[in-house]
Amino acid sequence: MADDPILSVRDLHVSFRTKRGLARVVRGLDYDLHAGETLAIVGESGSGKSVSTLAMTKLIPMPPGQVSGEVWLGDDDLVPLSEKHLLHYRGRRIGYVFQDPMTSLNPVHPIGRQLTEGMRYHLELSDEEIRERAIDLLQKVGIPSPEKRLDDYPHQFSGGMRQRVVIAIGLSCDPEVLVADEATTALDVTTQAQIVELIGRLQDELGMGVIWITHDLGVVAGIADRVLVMYAGQVVEAADVDALYARPRHPYTVGLMRSLPVLGDLERRDLASIPGLPPSPTALPEGCAFHPRCAFRDDDRCATEAPPLRDIGDGHLIRSFYEVPEEIAQEAAAEARIEIEPPDADDVGDAAAEVGSRSGRGGET
């Protein structure tokens, strides 16, 4: 991508003061996000995915939290900005969609009010224009007869519908960057398919950059242009989506792929689980953070020296002294491949089928 990134994160560190000591939750994160691009962040619970995106606009409690590094949104570095200045970025230029459609909406207010709140603050529009825009947004996210539903309360919507409302709120001020933090985790797969499709379509329409946080490697495969794999607050592997799935090279990513049950796997291969637990952010191991669980290598070097993030070609980055041997990497990728074609819209006639939103985008990257 030749064009300038809309968001550049450089050496982002986030830590929390706790009685156990300093919890170093994000430790030197770097990435770029371009307009229209989808960056997926995957990783285990507690690896710092949410905190790293929340910290961009300081949506974490500070203190005990502290943030350092640079977060360039266009020409502005957000890290030094005060709370007051950040208000102009939150929701306006960086929109958020969180996991739980139950708790991200306030049960006591009608959804119309919650949808227009940000617009009233950020956009200089008349009440009439705001209302129109709200209706338009609800229409866009696929809520039928939106003008009638503005005064309805969250409990009058189903889970999937609520998540659509939350997405409409995230989009309400035309952000340049949309952070979707486990936006579909709480939903059923059929609903997830709808929401994934929806965000993809809106992205194509509006040209925003999307940071998609998830732990579902299946979802990532379909939506991402580039993938960051996080472990213990650091990126351990970063690559374009095709490269990552074809040839994962970091032991953790390979372990993750091999532990994944795959639909339609005929002879029920053994799942290779990663033993042990991720480290606590207050007691990070010396050396490589993954070495205590690493199945490939743990020699003295891994235990004493922290590996740098290095480019192994074509922008494929890994944070490891050793990459997983090519054969094993490909084997892991092959294991994750499905063996039977899943049913497709073509199989059932075209009535309810819709072309997967991504079909046109494959060639772009």
């Binding site: 372990g255 532990s259 990663i274 033993p275 009535a351 819709e354 494959g362």
Partner: protein
């Protein structure tokens, strides 16, 4: 199947709603029938709220069924007296989704495991009890000296293993595992699935494995039942159901599941379901699924399709596959679909 350990026939659970007994009820489970053979794992999948947990609970009489029967190794479970029921529970255990909520926060995990032994008098003396608790913890990969620790000290995966150890304490024949991996990280899910598989091999266990993650269900199950709105709409061998799904809902479900292959994902044409899940208090007439079905035709509103064999060992509850002459009225007839819209 003659070697069935569990036979469920027309099982229904209705939860009355509101104070008035005016008959309004959530039909959480509505006429479900299946068998589980000894040593087999039956997977139960479906969307949130379709009645999976309720089925599992009703099977163990942890909620009282409204209708239908459950036979366990020749025992009619619904006929058991309160006392016999408690004694029977030794043979059929349950593992729960939320490994934290299913352990008493004030009970050390060793006691949680030991309690199962106490209830059924499965140990002789304090020392034997301690040893047995240690063995059980070890069996699930935990160090025996963690027995004194409290659930909040454990990680999610470790807690789930405590839950499994507790279930194993009674030496059950049958375990209902209700979303045992849903709350866990991907890398930990494999640990628990592998453990369950290993225990099944070693102890000759029979499982009902409930989950919404079809890939996981398929990995551990021998046969799979797909539920929609309180009913089983399809039941087949783990490969068959994937290779040739018969029910339009199963097809949509399978088509919606993302697979970890970028090229394929980008070019897939998913079957997107329209609309929302209907309310279980007021399910549609005829076929439950017709309001969202792409292949709906006129008869669907009238006839309530029963689960019937399509091929050997593959059952579906869909009029498309019933031999009653309606099969010709396929959705490909444009006028047939028009009828329905009205």
């Amino acid at each position: 199947m003659s070697d069935a350990l569990v036979t469920v026939d027309d099982l229904s659970v209705y939860f009355p709603v509101g104070r008035r007994r005016d008959g309004t009820a959530v039909k959480a489970v509505d006429g479900v029938s299946f068998e589980i053979a000894k040593g087999e794992t039956l997977g139960l999948v479906g969307e949130s709220g379709c009645g999976k947990s309720t089925t599992g609970l009703a099977l163990l009489r942890l909620v009282e069924p409204t209708r239908g029967s459950v036979t366990f190794d020749g025992i009619d479970v619904r006929e058991l007296s309160a006392r016999d029921l408690r004694r029977w529970r030794r043979r059929a255990a349950m593992i729960f989704q939320d490994p934290y909520a299913s352990l008493d926060p004030r009970q050390p995990v060793g006691e949680a495991v030991g309690e199962a032994l106490d209830i059924h008098d499965l140990h002789q003396g304090k020392q034997a009890r301690r040893t047995r608790i240690g063995e059980l913890l070890e069996r699930v990969g935990l160090h025996p000296d963690v027995a004194e620790r409290y659930p909040h000290e454990f990680s999610g995966g470790q807690r789930q293993r405590v839950g499994i150890a507790r279930a194993l304490a009674c030496e059950p024949d049958f375990i209902v595992a209700d979303e045992p991996i849903a709350a866990l990280d991907v890398s930990i899910q494999a640990q628990v699935m592998n453990l369950m598989a290993e225990l099944q091999r070693d102890l000759d266990l029979t499982y009902l494995f409930i989950a919404h993650d079809l890939a996981a269900v398929q990995h551990v199950s021998d046969r799979i039942a797909v539920m929609y709105l309180g009913r089983i709409v399809e039941l087949a061998d783990r490969i068959d159901i994937y290779r040739s799904p018969q029910h339009p809902y199963t097809q949509a479900l399978l088509s919606a599941i993302p697979v970890p292959e970028p090229t394929r994902e980008r070019s897939r044409r998913r079957i997107l379901l329209e609309g929302d899940l209907p309310s279980p208090m007021d399910p549609p007439s005829g076929c439950n699924f017709r309001t969202r079905c792409a292949e709906v035709f006129e008869a669907c509103g009238r006839v309530d399709p029963a689960l019937a064999p399509v091929t050997d060992g593959h059952e579906a509850a869909c009029l498309l596959h019933h031999d009653q002459g309606q099969a010709v009225e396929r959705s490909h007839h444009p006028d047939a679909r028009e009828h329905q819209k009205a």
